[in-house]
């Protein structure tokens, strides 16, 4: 239904050329990489492609994937968020402090302990506020995103350290008399208790049923990743906001002249990244049942890596959420697989780094090829109009 009348004959007969195939391969590179990684490690280790191991991989992936989702929105607008890891640390410390120490109100001489749900909401809101500060500094004061969020990287980390004077908040289980128990559920809990599921797994008639039962014990952190992914993919692809994010990355001035509220969209994008970071801070603190001020160091780099690996261009305007999730799975499968196969941790770093750089090289190749194809198309059209008009 999207044909607007064809008048130029030049394009009538179009067959797949080698450039077309090259392009398809390049576009699908994240999927190809994932299939390759999975195939290699399944071959090298029998335990790799088992339901139990897939869940272990998924738990690791959740962290990078959730951060990557926020980062994808930022990078799609042509920005970058380097403060992600520090926001993870800050929110972990704030949540940990609220559980163990409560909110001290010295003037009233009281200490308020919040319900775990409140603490989660407060932490997410804090992430949004830090992201908003990033966005406002970038848009109101015209500071490059790299610089503004680099500053926030230091500030948020410093605040995380200040919160406890550098100490760890241990044993975040809450106390029955304060009514703030249950925080560890977030990182490790499952809808169905693991013991019950394990019982089913052991009594299963065959391996297939056992596998199915194992997946019933998917931890909350993975569910959170799934929910975030679905919402983010919808927002990016189906809403005016998502459309405007892509437009800003493609041509900011055009978006502005077309009436897009560019500054507002940009601020929201950093807020999304902040909320995603806060979610990860909560998951990690919950999983460790402790909050350490150094939580999340270097996480921004992992997040950027999975986004780039997933085919999103650092120049903005090109990429999608699905790619980021695949990218996170590539890194996750690679890390777990290398551990299982017994690659030394030093080599693991080297290999991961090489894969990321390779991804960017491929990204550049694809961008150049797309430009070339677009140019060829333009020239073909120009020629066609000239011959058509005599």
């Amino acid at each position: 239904m999207n044909q607007a009348k064809t008048a130029t004959p030049a394009k009538a007969s179009r067959s797949y050329t080698s450039t077309d195939i090259q392009q398809i391969l390049l576009q699908a590179r994240a999927y190809i990489a994932l299939i390759l990684v999975v195939a290699v490690f399944s071959f090298l280790s029998e335990a790799f492609l088992t339901p139990a191991n897939i869940i272990i991989v998924a738990k690791q992936v959740a962290i990078n994937a959730i951060l990557g989702i926020g980062m994808t929105f930022v990078i799609l607008t042509g920005g970058i968020d380097l403060s992600v890891g520090s926001i993870v640390g800050l929110t972990a410390m704030i949540a940990g402090g609220l559980i163990n120490e409560g909110l001290v109100l010295p003037y009233f001489g009281v200490i308020v302990y919040f319900h775990v749900w409140m603490i989660i909401l407060i932490s997410l809101a804090l992430g949004a506020v830090v992201g908003m500060v990033n966005g406002l500094i970038i848009t109101r004061f015209n500071v490059a995103p790299f610089i503004a969020t680099l500053g926030m990287l230091y500030v948020a980390r410093g605040l995380a350290l200040l919160r406890s004077d550098g100490d760890t908040y241990p044993n975040l289980v809450g106390r029955p008399e304060f009514g703030n128990q249950g925080f560890p559920m977030l990182g490790a809990g499952t809808f169905l208790p693991t013991e019950i599921v394990n019982g089913w797994v052991h009594s299963a008639q065959n391996a297939f049923m056992a596998g199915l039962y194992t997946f019933l014990a998917i931890p909350y952190s993975v569910w959170i990743m799934i929910v975030f992914t679905l919402i983010a993919a919808f927002v990016a692809a189906k809403t005016p906001f998502g459309r405007q994010v892509y437009a800003i990355g493609g041509n900011e001035r055009a978006a502005e002249l077309s009436g897009v509220r560019v500054n507002r969209v940009k601020v929201i994008v950093y807020m999304i990244s902040g909320v995603c970071s806060a979610m990860v801070g909560l998951i990690i603190a919950s999983k460790l049942v402790a909050a350490h001020p150094a939580t999340g160091v270097f996480f921004e780099l992992n997040a950027i890596a999975v986004v780039v690996l997933g085919g999103t261009s650092l120049m903005g305007g090109r990429g999608n959420i699905g790619g980021t999730i695949i990218g996170a799975f590539v890194i996750g499968a690679l890390s777990t697989g290398m551990v299982m196969v017994g690659v030394s941790s030093f080599w693991q770093q080297v290999i991961k780094g090489a894969v990321i750089v390779l991804a960017v090289i491929v990204d550049q190749m694809q961008a150049r090829m797309q430009e070339r194809v677009a140019l060829q198309q333009q020239q073909r059209l120009e020629l066609a109009t000239q011959t058509a008009e005599g």
């Binding site: 999207n2 009348k5 005016p240 305007g317």
Partner: protein, 253 residues
């Protein structure tokens, strides 16, 4: 051809620091007519249309629209009146497809929050068909792969889709070859036939004499003269552009 101009700009001035870009300029556009705006580089053409579009305020003067005095403070105000500008660099996002570009910033929604792709696509195709833009393979292709003339056509279609009454084009043919220029000029004529007031800025007098009903000449920020195309010659207009006496300068008459 209506007698009273739909857009009537009276005595506007604009100063940028030391540069007096516009001095007491009158300018009109009439529905169903093409008004050309010509002048040498730096004459103030772009400044005049940017003021009308609300990109920056004029220092003095008035804008009347459909007979009423209006205040235009920003691009939203001018768009609300029905004035659309197609800027020289077209303001298209190359990474988005034709439909997305046409509706950029004014997306239609279905259900809460969701883009109504089907209705946008339909409206987009209708607009393109009404303008006889027929060389597109698909309205779902990215703008990056379009020819210069097609891009210009999309930018124009984007401008006229919003029930606009005045369409201003800043040098729409400057970057185009002969055949592509042809397409755009035809498009400009069709806009006027559909009853819109069209303003076209161009340095190409040949093109202007082909499409314009009237020609306003600016020189050094002053309005030199308004010609009726059928009553003048290219020589006369060239003379006005390069050496015109400034009829509207106070104290120089």
């Amino acid at each position: 051809m209506s007698e009273t101009p739909i857009l009537d700009v009276r005595g506007v001035s604009k100063r940028f620091g030391a540069v007096q870009a516009l001095t007491n300029v009158d300018f009109q556009a009439r529905s169903g007519e093409v008004m050309a705006l010509v002048g040498d580089n730096g004459a103030g053409k772009s400044t005049l249309i940017k003021g009308i579009a609300g990109i920056y305020p004029f220092d003095g003067g008035e804008i009347h629209f459909e007979g009423k005095k209006v205040n235009i403070h920003n691009p939203k105000d001018s768009a609300a009146l029905g004035i659309e500008v197609v800027y020289q660099d077209l303001a298209l996002a190359d990474n988005l497809d034709v439909v997305a570009n046409m509706f950029l910033g004014r997306e239609r929604i279905q259900k809460p929050w969701q883009l109504d792709e089907a209705s946008m696509e339909k409206a987009c195709i209708e607009t393109l068909v009404s303008l006889s833009v027929s060389t597109l393979r698909s309205v779902r292709q990215a703008v990056a792969g379009l020819s210069g003339g097609q891009r210009q056509a999309i930018a124009v279609a984007k401008a006229v889709m919003w029930n606009s009454k005045v369409v201003i084009l800043d040098e729409p043919t400057a970057a185009l070859g002969v055949a592509q220029t042809r397409q755009v000029l035809d498009l400009v004529k069709r806009l006027a036939q559909q009853g819109l007031a069209v303003v076209i800025i161009s340095h190409n007098l040949h093109d202007i004499f082909e499409v314009a009903d009237r020609i306003t000449v600016l020189r050094l920020g002053y309005k030199v003269k308004e010609f009726l195309t059928k009553d003048t010659t290219q020589q006369e207009v060239v003379h006005a552009i390069t050496a015109g006496t400034l009829e509207s300068v106070p104290g120089m008459v």
